[in-house]
Symmetry: C2
Subunit: 305 residues, 2 copies
């Protein structure tokens, strides 16, 4: 006959998952029960606090749309996303460091020719030339590798956050394929630091806890070479005011690039520059292995419920 | 300069909440970060598993409506609701045991005269007479106390789960106010065991983990006397097949009532009975104190987001 005290209850819930066919699912659920129960006991959680949590989680789910993922944002600001990244990349062996995917990867980027300006609509930003290269751990160039890049504009917004996305299509978002020497290069604008969306429950939490909502300026890269681990990372711009206090804890020393201010009349590909401009140079080293590139959010959201 | 290893990262996230003005909110958030991070480290959570969790939580939030609360259901089947109940009711001092509110309390029950039949539309159920009383810890009757009662019908559904709710109004749901001797009584049908809703993510989890979705038959009571702790509980019907394996872990020995099968031609209030009928007798003992009765779900859901 059941009559659970605080500890018996936990044992009974753990036991209820005993027949779960998938051993990994069983382990994850049983550990989840232990973690949640330990939290409630340790904090003596009140009914009002529990009710607040139920409402918060409900609102977080209801804020999600095919192009907005408030639960990923919650995971990000609680450092959970970066920790999942960390435990899955314990041994880098000289490979480029990884960081969060973030909620603005929409996937299926359109391939563009090297040298393209991916931010033609962003008239207000300062011009930047990005030159990059993908190699293996020994520095051998990796040719024909698709690289997705995306970043925020001069207003701190990603293209997908703006109403114009539907009509204008992607901006500051493209795919390049490395040449025979592993290289790719493109034009864009210098991104700036920006706040995460603050009009949802996660933003409210950031404001209420007196944290700032800012991410330091960065460009996202997803380098996906056959036979190598997909590399999901950012390159951060050195000197940013928020480089030491990224709201999602995504910065790593090795991912910070010194972006040079240049006034040469020509950019590295020999074409005219409207001075001054900025030069970002960064090389990616990939680790042998496999794994799936992340699904873009739209694909995730349209899966059957 | 940041460059977090697995443990530094947790310390950095905890520190980010350092300026939270409300000390209790700060404590709860910092402990939450520790619990979540400990879980990720302990399980070596993969990206695919993290993504599954994000999707699951999103779908759970999106399944909620003004009359359906899938996150409460999740809390219930993980034993979290009962644990919150347990840590908030450590010392009962002889007072009646508490159990979960459940997701079907709609609140603002309509007061009905003693003896009313609260299930007039439920022609298929077996008739039950409920006689009850509210007292203090010494057994002194508490007069004029509002008591909300609600239970599932013979199909295992609450009135609010059916389309007819909008037109027929409440069924198997009412408020009674105790008389001078602390008593109240009413007619209804014998409830049966029933499954929690299985058409959402929580139900899917129950099915996938080979748990059964059943709750043993019970009647909900919310006894709310001025100067006493609001008593939220169920009375379970002895002999139910699921009494030892309630999917939400809500059963306590003391809350199980022997419901008698009767064939007397008159019910306890002297009115005619259509034999056979059932008699449920239960007394509630309230603990001095205060506290708010729970908000009904509709009130919770209509709060500004």
């Amino acid at each position: 006959m059941p009559q659970f005290n605080e500890n018996d209850l936990t044992a009974a819930v753990v036991k209820s998952f005993e027949s779960t066919p998938n051993p990994r699912a069983k382990f994850l659920l049983q550990e989840l029960v232990k973690s949640l129960h330990d939290y409630v006991r340790r904090t003596d959680l009140t009914f009002e606090e529990w009710e607040y949590a139920i409402e918060f989680l409900t609102r977080t789910g209801q804020k999600c749309t095919p192009i907005r993922q408030e639960f990923i944002l919650l995971s990000d600001v609680l450092g959970v996303s970066m920790l999942v990244d960390a435990v899955n990349h314990r041994e880098r062996e000289g490979a480029t460091q990884t960081t969060v995917l973030g909620p603005f990867y929409v996937g299926e980027h359109k391939q563009m020719p090297h040298g393209s300006d991916i931010s033609p609509h962003n008239v207000t930003g300062e011009k930047m030339f990005v030159q990059s290269r993908a190699t293996d751990l020994a520095g051998k160039p990796l040719a024909g590798v698709p690289v997705d890049v995306w970043h925020a504009d001069d207003d701190g917004l990603y293209d997908s956050q703006k109403p114009s996305y539907a009509t204008h299509g992607p901006t500051a978002r493209a795919r390049f394929v490395t040449d025979g020497d592993g290289r790719f290069f493109f034009r864009t604008i210098l991104p700036c630091s920006y706040p995460i969306p603050t009009d949802g429950p996660v933003g409210e939490m950031i404001v209420q806890t007196r944290r700032h909502p800012m991410r330091p300026a960065h460009v996202h890269f997803l380098v996906n070479a056959k036979g190598y681990e997909p590399l999901i990372t950012h390159v951060f711009i050195d000197g940013d005011k928020y480089i030491d206090s990224d709201v999602v804890f995504g910065v790593k020393d090795e991912l910070i690039a010194k972006v040079e201010e240049r006034s040469d009349p020509k950019m590295p590909d020999g074409k005219e520059a409207s001075a001054p401009w900025h030069l970002m140079t960064y090389e990616f080293r990939l680790k042998p292995g496999g794994g799936m590139a992340p699904k873009p959010m739209a694909a995730r959201e349209s899966e059957p419920a």
